[in-house]
Symmetry: C2
Subunit: 402 residues, 2 copies
DNA sequence: CATATTTGTTCGTTTGTCGAATAAAACAAT
DNA sequence: ATTGTTTTATTCGACAAACGAACAAATATG
């Protein structure tokens, strides 16, 4: 009845590898310090990991010594010759790729402009498979061990299924399996906001204690929620498409088919579309505007365009309402606002702050810190690559145990 | 850095006591089955627990044997002679009390009509202390080991602080310490919706797997959220006053000072107040109506009063919106609607269902089951008493370990 | 070169769990 | 009555995992 329980050894092994992935090369004593373990136990664990070739001792430690008295530390880290992992993000008309070696070090990256919307499921998987294969070939990476893919929508990471996505017509697409078969490698899929949240939390230790809610504004509005540094998993993906909470009953149309979703006020496409409407130009079909177009929009607003300023004010208000709901439901210790949408944070802030204060019960407000993290989509592939590496580590451990 | 880590022994001990509390008297083999442990280990653990007098072997097992072939089971359970625990719920003008023995068996209960609103913090604690002491005395319970108190508002169980409560004027009241000093016993405080959620989940095993959100409608609207049967703890109490999420910007006044809170549509006081307003009677100050008054209101609506029906329709709609937010944020496997407010579920249902379907993205809707649990406030004291007993069990274990 | 200092390993011990054998306590069959 | 049968519980030896203490290793300092 206790499910697939890991052996104590596997748990320890995993914790060790996790901290090593995060904290860079560490000496055995330092690992012990991080994990609250005795040096003896660390020695035992690392001995077998070195033996298996998962870890290697760091060269050139002599640079570090020279001033410290005792025996110099020998730092350990992942071997970088055990193959590669590719991280992918798929947007509406763009694919971002990143290649890392087994030590997690960046080896190559690429972005491809390619409209993905309205492709059939099979066609989409073909395109992805080809793009990934070409990238691996061109980067001279013959031995890709796994692929991590971050995409929009409700993603069930465990089952490898995309339940719904704004990009896809199909529902319940078994993407991990489909792409995995084409590539002949394990594929891990993840919601993009979750991947972003994970990456951001890897960089800031404060975000790994307590609960952290990451609101990502960009093509859509996503939520990645972390509890003690681990991604919260709901029945499906865990609040990851929070952007489709409908805050205004008679609000603008959203691409999900509903009305008044958070996303329908805040996402790039929504702001761009509403700006077009102001100019009495015909409303475009849903379209992801370029970064340039969004930059121009923001610049025009900053220059004092009152109609545009009103749009941003309303968007900020919705963001404040959204943050307030998060606070009063999840009671997070931190809220992080991230993604390309933060480019207009100066325009959103006044109404955001006002709405947040207005809508949140004061006793709770002080418990949550709110910060804006300027994060490019780069972080996204970084996040999903780290997750794929972690899975790989775990598989290694499990393989050994079997 | 790893906090206060329990020894493996303590963890096992606690898991054992938890299942025993929940699943009633069990034989050693059955315990092993529940926990996925070998009989040898169970024997080892129970031996010391029997030795310490925490557990006893059940008498009268001969009634159970007689038809089964092998050696008869000897069921173990908590000794009932190790003192008592009192569970308390404080409403606006009512205090509910329950006395259980160390085996968790009900020994006495009482409810006291007593307006608590607008009392000073010290006066409130005095009243509670006196009421509890009198109850213990009258019930012939000389040896009360601990008190569990469930109350409305933002409760920080760990710190024992009530951050804010509709009953209190004060903020950040250290209630556990204050009451504990007066009574000379440890006091555990908990949000009432959380206590209710805990009690309901103890009764239904299905609610202890995955995530369960319990919406309690009554004096206010509370939320108890469980992950794998354990209460989710946010930065404070964990979404417990979800009722103060503001869904309608220009909605009715709420007792928290805001406007358009979920509670301001659904709570007893809100429905009662709005019904008064329909009749052009002067709006009463915030007042908790009696169960009779609410019954009359519901009866009148069922009889076809269109204005009242409209009130309930709107309340149902808000409930649907609320459930939708929960689904799209927490992605729970189960939503349970409970509390006295379910008395009018037939009136709320049509608009509730409609709003829920309208506001929720279809890909997620099917993942969450929704059920209504008719639950009296009795369950509440049961929930908090169980939590207090659990704490006591843990303390026993810790005491031994020290 | 001896000493101090810090890192890492070895080794014996403790703790917790398990499997297998064994004992215990009933019923069933002859 | 006695002898199996069946299920429950305990005992005992084995093993895994982690720890503390002692010890070895590698460097800086005086």
């Amino acid at each position: 009845m206790s499910g697939s329980s890991l052996s104590p050894r596997e748990v320890a092994r995993r914790r060790l590898l996790d901290t090593l992935r995060r904290e860079g090369p560490l000496a055995r004593v330092e690992i012990g310090h991080h994990l609250g373990m005795s040096p003896a136990s660390v020695s035992e664990l690392t001995a077998s990991l070195l033996d298996e070739g998962v870890l290697v001792t760091e060269e050139g430690s002599e640079a570090l010594s020279g001033l410290i008295r005792g025996r110099p530390k020998v730092r350990l880290f992942f071997a970088d010759s055990l193959g590669f992992v590719i991280g992918v993000w798929t947007g509406f008309n763009r694919i971002e790729l990143r290649l890392v070696d087994s030590a997690g070090r960046n080896r190559a990256s690429r972005h491809v402009e390619r409209p993905l919307r309205n492709l059939e499921a099979d066609a989409l998987m073909d395109v992805l498979s080809e793009t990934i294969t070409a990238f691996a070939r061109d980067s001279g990476a013959p031995d890709v061990k796994a692929v991590g893919l971050a995409c929009q929508g409700y993603v069930d990471t465990k089952e490898g299924i995309v339940a719904w996505s704004p990009v896809l017509g199909t529902r319940d697409l078994p993407l991990a399996e489909g792409l995995g078969q084409r590539l002949g490698k394990p594929v891990l899929i993840e919601n993009d906001a979750s991947a972003m949240a994970f990456a951001i939390a890897q960089r800031d230790p404060a975000l790994r204690v307590g609960r952290t809610a990451c609101l990502m504004i960009g093509d859509g509005v996503g939520l990645g929620f972390l509890v003690q540094g681990e991604l919260y998993r709901g029945a499906r993906s865990g609040g990851s498409e929070f952007g489709h909470v409908r805050l205004r009953r008679s609000g603008p149309q959203c691409r999900c088919g509903g009305r008044g979703c958070i996303e329908a006020f805040l996402a790039d496409y929504a702001l761009h579309r509403d700006a077009q409407l102001i100019d009495h130009r015909p409303a475009p079909t849903i379209l992801i505007p370029s970064e340039d177009a969004m930059g121009a929009l923001v610049a025009q607003a900053r220059a004092g365009d009152t109609a545009l300023l009103h749009l941003f004010r309303e968007a900020g208000e919705v963001l404040g309402d959204a943050a307030s709901i998060l606070i009063q439901t999840l009671e997070p210790d931190h809220i992080v606002i991230c993604g390309p949408g933060t480019r207009a944070m100066d325009l959103l802030s006044p109404s955001f702050e006002a709405a947040l204060e207005h809508q949140t019960i004061p006793a709770l407000r002080s418990l949550t810190t709110i910060q804006v993290v300027e994060s490019s989509m780069d972080l996204l592939t970084e996040g999903v690559v780290m997750q794929a590496l972690r899975e790989l580590d775990q598989d290694l451990a499990r393989l050994r145990a079997a």
